[in-house]
């Protein structure tokens, strides 16, 4: 194990083998801003357009990225899994990072979230907004309460000691991705990924990441009431 780790460290990481997966639904206003941040980076980018009604696809195709399109709207969980399938089947990716399309994540956090994986220590790294003090300043209190309730629910149902369950910023090794399959098409996939990490006994860690609560991301983000939908999907959505 130790020998493997040192060997992995010595090899320099080819950034084109790091794939950034960005699910997008009606994000014509922000997807360009997000992709602008990647222009001088060597990462490979995969955008999944979940059947947007606006010009998300047109804006996306102005950038050097791969775009997959859903014929009908399925939800963020389904879009992520579509991206995972493509990467596993058609690319030589080593690491995969999931990234939100509404501009709330910071590209500069990507090396930080990759570090625990490239060192060979962990199978998955999960972004957490609660690990950095002062990080959640712009967050409305009701949102904070709902997120904390989600964390509590996940801790009880999966036994994982995580601090932030509904953060779209995650990184996986390609081997991990082969073991995970998202069946929750809508928003309950966040908890489902954690459940599968627990079931497959994968090594995971949390990494502090910055979340920007802009007016846009607040508008586009999940409404508080949808947390009840998520709970319902988790309790009764199993087939």
């Amino acid at each position: 194990m130790n020998e493997k780790v040192t060997r992995a460290n010595k090899r320099t990481l080819n950034l084109s083998q790091v794939w950034i997966v960005i699910p997008a639904y009606n994000e014509e206003e922000s997807i360009g801003i997000v992709l602008d941040q990647f222009i001088d980076k060597d990462y490979s980018i995969l955008v999944i357009d979940d059947c947007s009604k606006d010009k998300t696809s047109e804006v996306t195709l102005k950038y050097p990225v791969t775009l997959l399109k859903h014929m009908i709207n399925l939800g963020q969980g389904a879009a992520l899994q579509t991206g995972f399938d493509y990467i596993v089947q058609h690319t030589n990716a080593k690491y995969v990072v999931t990234f939100d399309s509404d501009g709330q994540h910071d590209v500069e956090d990507i090396p930080k979230i990759l570090a625990p994986l490239t060192s060979g220590q962990y199978d998955a790294a999960l972004g957490s907004r609660f690990l950095k003090p002062g990080n959640v300043d712009g967050i409305p209190w009701i949102k904070l309460f709902t997120l904390k309730a989600g964390v509590l629910f996940t801790r009880i149902s999966t036994g994982l000691k995580v601090t932030d369950t509904h953060n779209g910023f995650r990184a996986f090794t390609i081997e991990t991705l082969r073991k995970i399959h998202i069946n929750q098409n809508r928003m309950a996939h966040a908890s489902e990924i954690l459940t599968q990490i627990a079931q497959n006994k994968l090594g995971y860690c949390e990494v502090p990441v910055t979340i920007r609560y802009t007016e846009y991301s607040k508008k586009k983000g999940q409404s508080i009431f949808n947390s009840l939908n998520i709970l319902w999907d988790l309790l009764f959505g199993r087939d």
């Binding site: 999944i48 997959l68 859903h70 014929m71 579509t82 098409n185």
Partner: protein
């Protein structure tokens, strides 16, 4: 709690489990046949519903029919939503296969080399 109340509670729960487990369409068809025949029987012999109701401790025949109606509605609801979930899953797989098979590449000439 009367014997019938316990029976009806257990049968509701049993139905739920059965619906989620079995994909056998024959089971559903037999049940619907049973409902239809039972309905016809109660229409032709209205007093028989009251007799059975008194026998199992409910009292009125109308109440018995009402309870049965609720059970069968639940059966219909759960079996239909289970079917819808399966259809949704197949649809997801189809949409996904289509998306993965048809990647579109944006602006390969500008900015950076694309592999």
């Amino acid at each position: 709690m009367s014997f019938f109340q316990i029976l009806i509670t257990i049968s509701i729960l049993l139905l739920l489990v059965l619906i989620n487990r079995s994909r056998a369409i024959l089971f559903e068809r037999m049940l619907f046949l049973l409902i239809t025949l039972g309905g016809v029987y109660f229409v032709i012999f209205p007093e028989s519903a009251s007799r059975i109701a008194t026998m199992v401790g409910i009292g009125r025949g109308a109440d018995l029919v009402f309870y049965l109606f609720i059970i069968f509605s639940w059966f219909w609801f759960t079996s239909t939503s289970a079917k819808m979930r399966r259809t949704d899953r197949k649809l997801t797989e189809m949409v996904r296969a289509n998306a993965v098979a048809n990647p579109v590449f944006g602006m390969p000439t500008i900015a950076k080399k694309f592999r």
